[in-house]
Symmetry: D2
Subunit: 324 residues, 4 copies
């Protein structure tokens, strides 16, 4: 059986606000409190941390908190989607804001070095458009590519991962699908930019996450991944395995088949749930998937896929996952 | 030509937060500032106000601000979707919170009386469920009906309107469609509960807003309406007329055909736009629709609809709306 | 353990055409051949048969074929969605066609009597509209209600079930959701019209099938059901359990909880699969669900639902379904 | 004012079947009858023809029919999505069927030469998958690329265009989006394969058609286009301009801005409408769009887009399209 490493975005342990519950789904928490909650999850080893964080918490304090919880840092996610960047980070119409996005990301790069993390995680959620006629699509896409390409060139010692999503908070996000993101990365022409595949974003975008993973792997660009679940029509960030267990299984099947090695991360937003319980729930399911992969009849499945035999393939997968 | 009255939810003039831009899309505004902004819209006469509002603003101050801006109040929207009610208002599993929802709505009823408004607007956005197996659907729906039925009985002198929406912030909202809401209202057996039809919510739910309006009218329950636009897959609350001008036209055609008289309200969330300009934009389009209704060949359209002649009907509508 | 009866629409064993593969997904089959295929499914007891069928097959021949395959008839589905009714059956703009729809359905009623079946199954898939402005929504809905109400009054000894669906082949179908259908049935004011809940249609319409089942049961109108699966955005009619096993489990949990007794039917379209294997696949999964319901900790689940405790409820359901 | 050339797929003038109305939406028509109907459309100059067509119609007869209707051929669409190819054309698990797909496309290439047409139009609608675990995604995508790459190499004198679509008839189509298709074309490494952008397919896929057009142009691959309309959730192939006039306007704005020159084609399926009237309706709207582009304040719009000023840009577009 494989030895897995589990991770989570530190925001999994935050308190959320949205446009209705503007006073939040509970009392706000400090980054240190979030780290201590992450430490309570049974099998969590690594976290992804947003930066910059509140000025009253030092990097040293974060380090201490991580250490006492046996956590290390896999990535730093620069906050390029808050008020300052609400009209875009890399694609903001204001060149000064685009410069600021670059600075914030370079600061994140320094944190990656400081924490010995694996990458800067870029989620340009405000880069896109809302209305027909609002933008010059050629220019917007050019800025999308140049902004990240520049970062990669400035930091050749580091990796950058782009987490695409079809939309939200913009009505259209420029890095909206796996294929679009790979097109953009190819245009950058740098080796150190890859994709972080969010299982739920792929579902939301009408993709088969297993297919998207394979595509990124075949381009040598699957640098990271995380999981959650949704109803395919929005980024609900529900607990992994609660709605689409079979496609989640196919996703991890594809990763193992390709000998992809990396952290199995969670990107969940437990708005109304206990965040530690929600993480434990998901990790328990991921372990079940891992054990199911051990049980799977790989040769028979490959043969069924070779025939594109849907029923045959499903029977084999079902046997492993449901045990009948 | 008809004399129209235009209105807007006062939140049209707020600053928004969401789960990403937690520091907001701009500096926060007080209710008084929002009213003053509403006053700048060229043709706005009435507003819908959320309550309770910040304790440092008195009802008298609100009244003064409304008066100086020539605005009156059409409805009060009790805040039954913030932190306290994040697991539900009328359907909260905690009977104490359900009681609190009743109190907050009764307080809103008193404000309706104080302002001489038309109704209490109920938007039970947190009433619903997220996960399979989470709730007892029979009980949840019973609570949905009883909670509002009780309010109506407690305030027989007032009207209550339910604004349904398929989802957000819950993954499923119990008052999720026009038909479901009418079923619930019929079960209440009271005369003073009706529907506020949000054009965008109907589109989002896969309904034809014109059909939903007709259905509510035929049940004697179309007590209010508001408009906006979206991409049919989420409640984007974009500016009315920017994406679906033809269905918007059909919606108002249906209202006029039924001699429905009421305020043409806006429920828009201009996250990144100037809120006054966004309201003016929408109202200009609504005036164009009103003028197009004057130009419309009503008899020819009725004849085409009698034949269910899609091309014939569209030609007549197009002529009125686009002028060719 | 419960004794289940499994059924299927006879079209499960047909060869399909669509707008692209106009020469079909294989050679056409006669009704007798379809019945013989149905007979090969391991645990199938009842079928729903479309009528009228090809004139060269007599009722007696059908009876013989059913008998030799140990099959009985649960329902007759009149073909009110083919060329003659392509602009609507009950809502056709031509009164003569509406009369023809009535005749075809009365003929189906006679077959129900002849076969000792349970109901006439109405699927008015062509009743609806495509374009904005195409129809008078008031009239269309009135025709929808009157057409079926008339049938029910003409045949008080029989049951009629309406199978709603959001759309296809019309862009909007008038019986488009559970709540809308119940509203229509209430307006008919007859005891012998109910709903046939198609699991996939509910998913497609953004409903939770378990919630829709509960609603129909609470109105005393859940007369039948069938299952399949899809990607929530279209009526894919895939094999039950292959995409949404957890919501399928919740659906049957709701039926058993309410002591609903009836046939567990399949409504699948195995375009490219072996139809017998596809039925066996689904029935095997349904048996697994039935066994999981036996294993389920019902009291603990009721307690979790009483708290609306999503994580707690999911853990209990997961334990029963996945065995961990 | 620009001189436009209008075209249509010849299937616009066919009679359709679907999985319900298996006897068709009217009496079948011969290819010659379809051409004669195309000839009745007021401003139609070119058609795209499916091949092979019925053996009882010769190429010469087609040529004569085209001539008498003043029509020429823009493309030939090989029928690689009927029964023979129902499990895939380029990606069929059977190498013999893949070979057959190649033959059918080479036959189409010969017809392109014979008619002096512009391209072979490839719509691999059966190339994809339905169920989780059904296919080896790496292999499927490799076959998708190699199959078309081989065709392009065999016919270096001709152009091939790929018309992508998210799905239907497969639940997932391998050429499912603009970006995915461009990735595939880049992998082929040939100059003579491009994209045919179907406006409705882009909408259906959650794309902004204007953005997709710009992306294809920037890759030098926008070889063709066609228009229609839908409700964004399915390929409804409704009449262009009846639902999304503003995005249609933005699409043509983008084409003119880039000096893209080509035929404005229709890909509509008027199931229940008069096919000539449906084409005339669409072309009238396209002419209105063309005239609106003449009226548009291009400099002001560019300036607004430079600021990403949604309201400003919409006002300018609205002025041109609606005349107020």
């Amino acid at each position: 059986m494989s030895k897995l490493t589990f991770g989570a975005g530190i925001w999994h342990f935050a308190t959320y606000v949205d446009r209705y519950a503007t006073d939040g789904y509970g009392p706000a928490k400090s980054l240190i409190e979030m780290i201590d909650l992450a430490g309570k999850v049974r099998d969590l080893s690594v976290v992804d941390i947003n930066a910059p964080w509140s000025a009253d918490v030092s990097v040293d304090e974060v380090e201490v908190a991580l250490k006492r919880n046996n956590l290390s840092v896999i990535g730093i996610t620069p906050e390029i989607y808050n008020r300052e960047f609400s009209k875009g980070a890399f694609t903001n119409p204001d060149a000064g804001i685009r410069r600021r996005a670059n600075e914030v990301c370079n600061d994140a790069a320094n944190l990656v070095r400081r924490f010995g993390a694996s990458y800067v995680k870029l989620w340009p959620g405000q880069d896109g458009w809302d209305y027909p006629f609002q933008v010059d699509h050629k220019q917007l896409w050019r800025h999308s590519i140049e902004g990240i390409g520049e970062l990669a060139s400035q930091n050749p010692d580091l990796k950058f991962v782009i987490e695409y999503k079809p939309r939200e908070p913009r009505v259209h996000m420029s890095y909206g699908s796996m294929a679009r993101t790979l097109l953009g990365i190819e245009a950058m022409g740098v080796p150190n930019v890859g994709v972080l595949l969010d299982f739920g974003h792929a579902l939301f975008g009408g993709e088969s996450p297993a297919d998207s993973a394979q595509l990124a792997i075949d381009h040598g660009r699957l640098f990271g991944m995380d999981v959650n679940d949704n109803l395919r029509a929005w980024d609900d960030d529900m607990v992994a395995g609660t709605v689409h267990p079979i496609e989640l299984f196919e996703f991890f099947y594809t990763l193992r088949k390709n000998n992809w090695e990396g952290v199995w991360q969670l990107d969940q937003f437990p708005f109304r749930e206990d965040c530690v319980e929600a993480a434990d729930m998901a990790i328990d399911f991921l372990k079940h998937i891992d054990a199911s992969l051990d049980r799977l009849d790989w040769d028979a499945l490959a043969a069924a896929q070779n025939r594109q035999d849907a029923m045959g393939a499903q029977k084999i997968a079902r046997q492993a996952l449901f045990g009948f």
